[in-house]
């Protein structure tokens, strides 16, 4: 079982596979240095698409050999995104990554019904693995980035994506806490009604193998001591592997709070596509950017 993001990197390294990563509009120093690190670790090849002379200039300035990568020219960010997706659809790349292009333009190429990378009728969602020193293992959270207010059906799919990812980390039967403000179901919360149905589905085997309970608050999900004090009976028992949040507004401050105040690092990935798609926020740390690439290679 992988218990930290560095262990995840070791695991990817031990797979002895090289994933070809197509980067859209790649003339960005941060992106190139993160890709370079993955190439140096031996688990990635970089296909950089964009303004080739600018890419070469950035490489020169940062002391990176541009001939380590395959370079392709594109006239603009939209063309670069379409080309990155096209290469991946046609089997010339294994992973697509966003460079300097805006997220909306990039995802438009990914989600294009004819030429894109979407699985038929798939739900696009984001799962992320968080490493926080004050927790005894990795914590997977969903969805802090893509679906604002998930429906019941979307929540079930979010759970499935997280279970699948946890599986790649060697977690066979993950404990999933369905998060709310309290362990008491409330009739004002849409989440309470959805969670009741989800727990029933999990029990009936309509959701992949997991231990699911909710609503639970953060304490009962992650802190054994709180479970003891409250004397509350939950199979998650303060030992959650996965936290599923009711809304993006609740999960987004959660992960940002842990990044800012609890020394967290993360590796996150979009799910619902044929091949892994890497979208990173400009404000993520250098380390987290590298972890995102490694995670995509693990899931490829």
């Amino acid at each position: 079982m992988i218990r930290s993001l560095d262990q995840m990197v070791e695991k990817v390294h031990s797979l002895n596979r090289k994933q070809r990563i197509a980067v859209s509009w790649a003339q960005d120093a941060n992106t190139i240095s993160a890709i370079h690190k993955a190439v140096s670790y031996g688990f990635a090849e970089g296909i950089l698409i964009g303004n080739v002379s600018e890419i070469r200039n950035i490489c020169k300035k940062t002391g990176i050999d541009p001939d380590l990568f395959s370079l392709f020219h594109a006239d603009n960010d939209v063309a670069a995104s379409e080309e990155a997706v096209r290469l991946t659809v046609n089997g010339f790349a294994d992973i697509v990554m966003k460079g300097l292009v805006g997220t909306d333009k990039f995802l438009r190429a990914v989600m294009d019904k004819k030429k894109g990378l979407m699985l038929p009728n798939a739900v696009l969602s984001y799962v992320c693995a968080l490493e926080v020193p004050s927790y005894h293992k990795l914590l997977f959270i969903t969805d802090p980035a893509v679906i604002p207010v998930p429906t019941l059906e979307q929540k079930v799919i979010m759970a499935e994506y997280a279970i699948e990812m946890a599986g790649r980390f060697g977690i066979k039967k993950p404990k999933i806490a369905l998060i709310s403000a309290s362990e008491k179901p409330g009739k004002h919360f849409q989440s309470s009604a959805d969670y009741e149905v989800m727990c029933r589905k999990a029990k009936n085997g309509e959701i992949s193998e997991c231990i699911m309970d909710g609503p639970l608050d953060i304490f009962l999900a992650c802190d054994k001591k709180s479970v003891e004090i409250k004397g509350f009976d939950t199979p998650v028992n303060g030992d959650a592997d996965i936290l599923l949040f009711p809304t993006l507004e609740s999960s987004n401050p959660f992960y940002k709070g842990l990044m800012l105040f609890a020394h967290g690092e993360l590796a996150g990935l979009i799910r619902g596509t044929i091949k892994p798609v890497i979208v990173m926020s400009r404000s993520e740390s250098e380390k987290s950017k590298f972890y995102c690439i490694a995670l995509a290679c693990l899931m490829a």
């Binding site: 953060i218 304490f219 507004e249 609740s250 401050p253 940002k256 709070g257 842990l258 800012l260 105040f261």
Partner: protein, 107 residues
Amino acid sequence: MQPCYQRNQRDQIKNCIIDGPLAFDNAVSLESAQHKGIKSEVAGDTDLLLMPDIEVGNVLYKSLVFFAKAKVASIILGAQVPIVLTSRSDSEQAKYDSILLSAAASK
């Protein structure tokens, strides 16, 4: 948040500076706000976070208490006297600090 902001601008909500919507990182980290190029009197130097609903506010404070070892003192306002309503799983320190806070808030 727009009406809130507007009322604040018109001095209908007094003695504070309101801005929003702000992402959590931009509200509390000047570095994040500058990185995103957000110009706001509040960003990076917030005193009070107003949350969109109880699931958001509850998750945030509990995560900071558990994962970041934050200290917390809390009271309920709106009654004739302050009400101390801590959770059973709150620490002794949190309960004591909540008593102090309610004493300070008491008229």
